[in-house]
């Protein structure tokens, strides 16, 4: 449990630069050897509104956000109005001297004294916050040099001067806040969010194609692939709509690309038709769905776990699929890598179901190990064994996948019911043979299911069942719970298919099983009931657009237990 952790919340209007300050401070904290976890809350607008960037910083690994604030950095008066009551005992307010912080434990930044012009006010804020949480000045200096290096020495020097002044200014202030975290041993950690980790996992798997239509909160996956992959040969295209994105990726995959699409619920609804096409044409594809609350436009920049059913039942007709639900950036990386292997092996769409909270949540992460990653399956480029049949019926349902253009064999992909040689057929025997062949691939996918992780005591009084990034809130709630019941947590990072022999005993051995999900209808509990018959009537559900926190889980527990 993160005994020693503080929560820094930077608040302001969109366009004021709170994300820039937040990212720089996060990186400085990571480089200083501390752990961190970022929760971003923002409104669907480019200017104005009220946004927050919360950095939870600690000596130990952090799994979730928290609601109480230790340092409130206000870029405007609205931040003070909205969040002052969340600042805990001994908490510190950091704000410009022009804002009313009378009577508060506050650092009142004299921006005009520290900075020659408003352009550098955010650098001053960074210096003040960096000093307040005891980050070495040299780390902040290095960061600014890297950030502004492209803009020339003059800009770098001007920023450094403001940084140093602001940093020194704090030392002279009389405030009642102390933070001196031991730095952990493993420096050289990465700082990245869920979307970036998905992009990197895809690159590590050899992904060399992305087609997308921008949609918050999923766009970061494509941005990562373009920024990091395109210089290495990845092909990309921002297309006219999500229908095109999915069909284009299918065409690319058919012709030999390792393809990914990324979207959120509404865009995915448009992709569904082509999910079905990928299934029947047996084209490998990795589809990333980063959830936000619906229905329809819903809360475009907030978080929810309400599109499990959408993905689970997507596409007309029956087709094999697997759905991963990462809890952390590490999961995002390794599960996306795995998704490419499964997609190619079983020639069917594989889904990564993330959500806004994880997509935007920066963490410090041990550098991913590229050397130990398993080999990703690949298609055939040559065919030497007689007539090639794209949809040959086999025991495991997997037909050899040949890429067109590398041999004289013809590769014919089709969306109808077809014969082994791709010819359209309405014959009932052919129909059953081909449908059964495709669905036999589910057996292979079933064999490869990653089972849930169990945390805590055996035979608990109450077992919390969760999936995706809700894990952190459940684990911290379990640790902080001080009642007289014993607790445990069961977490699913793969939500489909489910293998009951991997978890049914856990459910049956607990006195009570409590479902914890970020939606209103307990979709995962219903899926478990569908697959196993096990019912979970006790539920802690959150659907206000905010991420699950340990406080929310504890409150739910106190109502149930």
């Amino acid at each position: 449990m993160p005994e020693k952790s503080i929560n820094i919340v930077i608040g302001g209007a969109a366009g004021q630069g709170l994300v820039t300050i937040g990212q720089l401070l996060s990186k400085a904290i990571t480089r200083a050897g501390h752990h961190l976890l970022v929760t971003q809350r923002y409104m669907s607008r480019v200017r104005g509104g009220h946004n927050t960037y919360a950095i939870r910083m600690g000596e130990e690994d952090l799994l979730g956000g928290t609601e109480s604030i230790d340092i409130l950095a206000a870029l405007n008066a609205e931040t003070l109005e909205k969040h002052l009551d969340e600042v805990g005992e001994g908490g510190l307010v950091v704000a410009g001297a022009d804002l009313d912080t009378e009577g508060l434990n506050a650092l009142r930044i004299p921006y005009k004294e520290l900075s020659p012009k408003p352009l550098f006010y955010n650098t001053a804020m960074l210096g003040v916050l960096g000093r307040a949480v005891n980050i070495d000045l040299s780390i902040l200096e290095e960061l600014l040099k890297q950030t502004f290096g492209k803009k020339g020495d003059e800009v770098v020097e001007a920023n450094l001067e403001v940084l140093r002044k602001a940093y020194a200014w704090v030392s002279d202030q009389d405030h009642d806040f102390f933070c001196d975290f031991k730095s952990n041993d493993s420096k050289g950690r990465m700082m990245l969010n869920g979307n970036e980790a998905i992009g990197l996992g895809a690159l590590a798997a050899g992904c060399n194609f992305v087609s997308f239509y921008p949609m918050t909160p999923s766009t970061g996956v494509a941005m990562t692939l373009i920024a990091k992959g395109a210089p290495l040969g990845l092909q990309y295209e921002q297309v006219e709509d999500e229908i095109a994105a999915m069909n284009m990726a299918i065409g690319a995959s058919y012709a030999g690309a390792r393809a990914l699409v990324t979207t959120s619920g509404g865009g995915f609804a448009l992709m569904e038709e082509a999910v079905s096409l990928a299934g029947v044409s047996e084209t490998p594809l990795v589809c990333v769905v980063v959830q936000r609350p619906g229905p329809a436009t819903g809360l475009p920049t907030r978080t929810e776990q309400a599109d499990l059913n959408l993905v689970l039942y997507s596409g007309h007709g029956e087709l094999p699929r697997a759905i991963f639900a990462p809890a952390t950036p590490e999961d995002c990386f390794y599960l996306t890598h795995r998704a490419f292997d499964l997609a190619e092996t079983y020639q069917t769409p594989i889904f990564i179901l993330s959500e806004q909270y994880l997509a935007d949540s920066y963490r410090d992460v041990e550098p991913f190990n590229l050397d130990d990653l398993p080999e990703v399956a690949g298609p055939l480029l040559e065919w030497k064994e007689g007539e090639y049949k794209r949809y040959a019926v086999t025991d495991d349902g997997i037909s050899p996948r040949l890429i067109p253009g590398f041999s004289e064999a013809l590769v014919r992909a089709d969306s109808h019911t077809h014969e082994e040689n791709s010819k359209i057929s309405e014959d009932k025997t052919v129909r059953v043979a081909q449908n059964s062949k495709r669905l036999r691939k589910e057996s292979g996918l079933f064999e490869e299911v990653i089972g849930p992780d169990y945390y805590g005591t055996d035979n608990p009084d109450a077992l919390l069942v969760c999936w995706g990034p809700t894990l952190g809130a459940c684990l911290e709630a379990m640790d902080r719970y001080d009642g007289d019941k014993s607790l445990a947590v069961l977490h699913f990072k793969q939500v489909y298919p489910l293998r009951e022999e991997q978890f049914l005993d856990y459910l049956e051995d607990a006195d009570r099983v409590i479902d914890v999900e970020g939606n209103a209808t307990a979709q995962f509990a219903q899926l478990i009931a569908r697959e196993t018959g096990f019912m979970m009537p006790d539920r802690i559900l959150r659907y206000d657009g905010r991420a699950m926190t340990w406080e929310y889980v504890l409150k739910g527990l106190s109502d149930i237990l």
Binding site: L232, A252, Y254
Partner: protein, 276 residues
């Protein structure tokens, strides 16, 4: 030299007298005359009677969804830029269900050849108005006559300065073969809008109707945009056939064949390092 026989002969689901027979024969001939073997090309199609074409010709194919032949074709082209990609579908598939993809594909200007079998009617669903049916065209679904203006694909593509715009007619096979070859030789997005009769469901725009009106262009300069624009409006008593507009413009860039592409592990390690 590749012979037309290598492209095979197949039983089809088309009605006797359908314009598709002439179009597929002309396509096979155009391919053979370019010395392209069946494994050298890919045809992407959607859904409809015209879109069944790749099932009746030996070659690589992706027969996808109604309206989606262009996105699939563009994905194929990005993954394998060396391979000629031909798109073949009807007017409903290309201009109706796939309308947004059509406009975007023109702007993107990949090196594709798009053959639209334009019979001004929905055939496979038995005779409803299509995007190119004229206003007033009576069908069972439009008993009081089509209430929308007909879509003019040639005028639209010329207005957008598409890289290559041509019109052909299934009843002029020699001209059709030459036009397909010219479209395939052109670098960039090439549209050939091919007029064809639907003998079962279009009782207005019949073979005779097209035959009376169409004429092959002789003195038109396809690089003259204003002249092409004027010509593209001509679709009543006289219908011009030939290359209406042509402009050499930047073709959508691409790398090599993605099936052979991999990352160097040290490059990937450097990417990870950029996050520390």
């Amino acid at each position: 030299m590749v012979s037309i026989e290598e492209y095979g002969e197949f039983e089809t689901a088309w009605c006797p007298g359908c314009g598709n027979f002439s179009i597929i024969k002309s396509l096979k001939q155009a391919l053979a005359e370019q010395d392209l073997a069946p494994h050298d090309i890919i045809i992407s199609s959607g859904i409809g009677q015209a879109a069944k074409l790749p099932h009746y010709i030996r070659c690589n194919m992706f027969n996808g969804l109604h309206g989606r032949s262009l996105p699939v074709a563009q994905g194929i082209k990005m993954a394998n830029p060396e391979m000629p990609v031909i798109v073949t579908s009807g007017d409903g598939c290309s201009y109706g269900e796939g309308g947004n993809h059509f406009l975007a594909a023109i702007r993107r200007n990949m090196d594709l050849t798009v053959l639209v079998h334009d019979n001004q009617i929905y055939g496979l669903t038995k005779g409803q108005a299509s995007p190119t049916s004229a206003r007033g065209h009576v069908t069972k679904a439009q008993p009081e006559g089509n209430r929308s203006d007909g879509f003019n694909p040639v005028a639209t593509t010329v207005a957008m300065r598409a890289s290559f715009v041509a019109r052909a007619f299934s009843g002029e096979p020699e001209h059709l073969v030459a036009t397909i070859k010219e479209a395939m030789a052109h670098k960039g997005f090439s549209l050939v809008d091919i007029l064809q009769p639907c003998v079962s469901f279009n009782k207005v725009n019949t073979f005779a109707w097209y035959k009376e009106r169409t004429y092959i262009l002789e003195d038109h300069d396809p690089t003259d945009w204003a002249a092409a624009m004027t010509l593209s409006e001509e679709f009543d008593d006289r219908i011009p056939l030939g290359v209406i507009y042509r402009e050499d413009k930047p073709v959508f860039g691409h790398g090599g064949r993605l099936a052979e592409h991999g990352y160097d592990k040290n490059d990937l390690k450097a990417v990870l390092q950029s996050y520390t």
